[in-house]
């Protein structure tokens, strides 16, 4: 019944539209006018609209910025993140300035140069090599700066010295995360995907001495101001470990190991003071991986060395876990 009603209404709407258009066309036929010819009045209205809606659009961009600024990510909580934020601010200012200049010119020209009595003949101006040279060279110079600046930051991040970093493995699978800490020997044991079974969720090779003291956890704890090297793996399909507050993201790809090095600089409790009590660092999955992709998360905690040691010492090693349970 409702379907029928909807179809009926749609039909009526269309019929009404047709009639309105017909009437308009017939009337103008009588007056010997062509309804679809663009008149001087149209040019006036449309160019006025271009100018005013254009300005409104720009104003709304500013409005969006000021009303939503507080929702944006807080300043970076990692060393390299601060450099990224600086590069971001530089690039943002650049593009915002260019965005406004170009749009203002665009809307102004559209408002000013409409066809009409006062402006019936355009100025024949097919090219000007000098101008074109200028506006090829100007962006080239600006981009050279952007590229050099960007690449130097990228280089710093990807070539960071990791010899003193604490190595932690982050392992993704549909739809949760795990972390593996290397234990006393500071070495992660080797692994093989064929060994994934039951409690040995990461397929760690227990024949390897280095594996015995490794620890598996469901939270990622980091020590403030201490460099870490995340080693990333996946059990099934591609996931992506995304830690937005630290400006860290790296894919987890089955069949290979990827990595990301960084140094957290603010503890969770500092952030709670700054952002409110409910604040927590998180690691999200940022590569489409199935139905619960939207909820594939792991809590991240940044704390002092003491708190960290305390937390880690309470966790069982793999050998305790796998052997006592067997």
């Amino acid at each position: 019944m409702t379907n029928l009603l909807i179809i009926l209404i749609a039909f009526l709407v269309i019929a009404t539209l047709v009639q309105i258009l017909r009437v308009g066309e017939l009337l103008s036929e009588v007056r010997n006018l062509d309804v679809n010819k663009v008149t001087e009045k149209d040019n006036k209205t449309q160019s006025f609209l271009m100018g005013s809606v254009g300005i409104l659009f720009l104003v709304s961009c500013v409005w969006q910025y000021f009303s939503w600024e507080h929702l944006m990510l807080p300043a970076a909580s990692s060393e390299h993140g601060v450099t990224i934020d600086k590069l971001m601010a530089f690039t943002m200012i650049l593009i915002i300035v260019v965005f406004f200049i170009l749009h203002i010119i665009l809307f102004y020209f559209l408002y000013k140069y409409r066809k009409g009595d006062h402006n019936d003949v355009a100025y024949y101006y097919p090219h000007n090599n000098k101008l074109e040279l200028i506006w090829t060279i100007a962006p080239t110079i600006v981009l050279t700066v952007v590229i050099l600046y960007g690449l130097s930051v990228w280089d710093q991040i990807t070539n960071a010295d990791t010899s003193k970093s604490q190595v932690i493995e982050v392992y993704g699978k549909q739809f949760d995360w795990m972390a593996r800490y290397p234990g006393e020997d500071e070495t992660l044991g080797s692994y093989n995907y064929k060994l994934v079974q039951g409690l040995n969720a990461l397929g760690v090779d227990m024949q390897d001495e280095a594996s015995l003291d490794d620890k598996l956890t469901r939270e990622l704890h980091l020590v403030v101001d201490e460099p870490v090297l995340l080693k990333l793996r996946s059990q099934d399909i591609i996931h992506s470990a995304f830690l937005p507050h630290f400006r860290v993201q790296m894919n987890c790809v089955p069949g290979m190991s990827t990595q990301f090095a960084f140094t957290p600089t603010k503890t969770t409790s500092e952030m709670k003071e700054q952002e409110g009590d409910s604040f927590e660092y998180v690691l999200l999955c940022n590569k489409i991986c199935g139905a619960a992709h939207y909820n594939m998360q792991m809590k991240v905690v940044v704390e002092t060395q003491e708190e960290y040691d305390n937390w880690l010492s309470q966790k069982n090693t793999l050998s305790e876990k796998l052997i006592t349970k067997k």
Binding site: V121, T136, N251
Partner: protein, 583 residues
């Protein structure tokens, strides 16, 4: 050629060899798919702004399997996003846009009776049609349509255990895409041959309208890049069905360790984006061509810097082949390679900037006539600026670390590619409608359509940048699983509101389109007072295009408001006057 009198309904409207009819077939199929794709986006937008709420419309379209109690199922969410992306990118903005305007304009603007091969041209449409049918069928299979994103990265797309959409739905997607690629290659080869060989007397390359340049370059891009996607898809089909391990390695899923070792999903990403990046220019360049033409005609002024416009098109096309890695900065690719791709990617900004400056210079001291086509062309310039600029952030590997795969990307690509190309397509339809159907589209509805579209499109996609900067990942069924995103629900509601508004107003366009085909006011031969050759053909759109001899060409296409002429336009067929110099 012109004695095609005994045409039957079937040979005229269905298995037509006439490029103009084939163009309309592409256009109407593209419009139909556009409605389907847009509807999908509205369905999943409802879930994003009102997570977990029940909507009768969801149940009505998806049934109680995929929207039990009117609440969207998470797998179906991903399926809708995937099909929405696939349909808009390939069906609407590749086949719908290029298929329509390449077929329609190439013979008309270069002065040819038809395409080099009418038969291949027809095949191109029918392969596309078959691809469409297969894709639509995939919407109805038991396990749902493909759901791994339009980028179909394996292993997700290879393993039905990972997501139900990777079962039969993904097979059909791949078959459909194979048919689509065949269609696109057949079309592309035909466009290239036609433009290179069938130009009329006097139509040298340096006199080609910019639409022709753009379509020529697009065809070359397509012919060089689509085969790579075809091979990537074939290898994926092998992995899925015949147990090979091109992309798969060391996988445990559903408690089972798979036998695959030694493959790499990253290989797929390289192959995919080797097409995928040129693809976004395949979408954009025809719109650039169309818009250049329309801006010049309606500014009554030559396009500024014709040569620079051509060179920048070529530069963009060339660069588009060596930037694909910017989609892969955080896949674990060698950081040095990342630097190279940052460098090449940011270089594209230079020819793009030249284009924008040239558009502005064209508008300077113009005498602008605001037709609906012109409005959409202007909309294009605006979105091209906005979206192009945010590209500077995404192309910079260091910055991409934090915005990659967030809503910032969704905002960026919808504006620079989605909106720009859609505006180009609308502009083209409003502009060439009189040549296609011999009637005018209603002007007032056109104005209304533009303004509501312009406002709601920015209303949908501009705020998405803020979502991205707040860290919100894309392809999330809901953002309510993270307290850190709780503040974003206002933005999501605004976006959905504008999405619905923008969607509804497209129905008005479709109404205007079909109404005008049958009832629109009669067009004259050259309603926009334009210079290009298509406007010298008679209103009765005959097979073979010109009743008598094909006209020959004596000048470029942009002699608008040239001093020394009594009209403000001089068609390309008009010989140079004594002492007159060519631009």
């Amino acid at each position: 050629m012109s004695d095609h009198h005994n045409e039957t309904f079937i040979s005229k409207y269905i298995f037509s060899l006439d490029h103009k009819m084939i163009a309309k077939q592409f256009l109407i199929t593209g419009m139909f798919m556009g409605v389907v794709g847009m509807l999908m986006s509205i369905l999943f937008r409802l879930q994003l702004s009102n997570p977990g709420e029940s909507f009768a419309i969801l149940e009505w379209f998806l049934g109680d399997k995929w929207a039990p109690g009117g609440v969207l199922d998470p797998n179906m969410y991903l399926a809708l996003v995937t099909m929405h992306g696939t349909i808009l990118i390939f069906w609407v903005l590749t086949a719908g846009l290029t298929g329509t305007f390449a077929n329609f304009l190439i013979p008309l603007q270069i002065g040819a009776r038809d395409m080099a091969s009418g038969f291949i041209n027809m095949l191109s449409y029918w392969f596309f049609f078959a691809a469409t049918v297969v894709l639509l069928i995939s919407l109805f299979v038991e396990t749902g349509p493909a759901s791994a994103g339009w980028t179909i990265y394996p292993p997700l797309s290879a393993l039905p255990q990972a997501i139900p959409g990777s079962g039969l739905g993904q097979d059909l997607w791949l078959i459909s895409m194979t048919l689509f690629i065949v269609s696109s290659l057949l079309g592309g080869l035909n466009y290239i041959v036609t433009i290179l060989n069938l130009r009329t007397k006097g139509m040298s390359m340096s006199r080609l309208p910019l639409t022709m340049w753009a379509l020529l370059i697009v065809a070359i891009l397509g012919v060089l890049s689509f085969p790579v996607l075809l091979s990537a898809s074939l290898l994926l089909i092998f992995d899925r069905s015949f147990g090979t391990s091109f992309y798969l390695s060391d996988i445990v899923i559903g408690g089972e360790a798979l036998h695959h070792t030694g493959g790499s999903p990253i290989l797929f990403e390289h192959l995919f984006w080797f097409l995928g990046h040129p693809e976004v220019y395949i979408i954009l360049l025809p719109a650039l061509g169309i818009v250049s033409e329309i801006i010049s005609v309606n500014s009554r002024k030559p396009i500024f810097g014709y040569k620079a416009m051509v060179i920048s098109l070529i530069a963009i096309a060339f660069l588009s082949f060596i930037v694909w890695g910017h989609h892969m900065f955080i896949t674990g690719m060698d950081p040095f390679l990342g630097s190279v791709f940052t460098f090449t990617t940011l270089l594209i900004a230079i020819p793009s900037a030249v284009k924008v400056f040239n558009y502005l210079a064209t508008l300077w001291r113009a005498s602008i006539r605001f037709t609906p086509a012109m409005l959409f062309a202007i909309g294009f310039v605006s979105t091209f600026i906005t979206g192009g600029l945010t590209g500077l952030i995404l192309g910079d590997s260091a910055l991409d670390i934090n915005v990659h795969d967030t809503y910032f990307v969704v905002g960026h690509f919808h504006i620079v590619m989605g909106l720009s190309a859609i505006y180009g397509m609308f502009a083209g339809v409003y502009h060439w409608f009189p040549k296609m159907y011999g009637r005018m589209m209603n002007k007032k509805l056109g104005y209304f359509h533009f303004w509501v579209t312009f406002i709601s499109a920015y209303g949908v996609f501009f705020p998405m940048h803020f979502l991205g900067l707040a860290g919100l990942p894309r392809r999330y069924y809901t953002n309510s699983a993270f307290p850190m995103f709780d503040g974003l629900s206002d933005i999501n509601e605004i976006i959905t509101f504008f999405a619905i508004l923008g969607g509804v107003v497209q129905l008005l366009f479709i109404f205007n389109f079909f109404y005008s085909i049958f009832k629109g006011t009669k067009a004259t031969e050259n309603p926009w007072r334009s210079n290009t050759l298509e406007w010298t053909t008679p209103i009765e759109r005959i097979h073979g295009n010109w009743p008598g001899k094909i006209p020959s060409v004596h000048r470029w296409a942009y002699d608008y408001s040239k001093p020394g002429s009594d009209k403000d336009f001089i068609p390309q067929t008009e010989p140079l006057k004594e002492g007159e110099t060519e631009h």
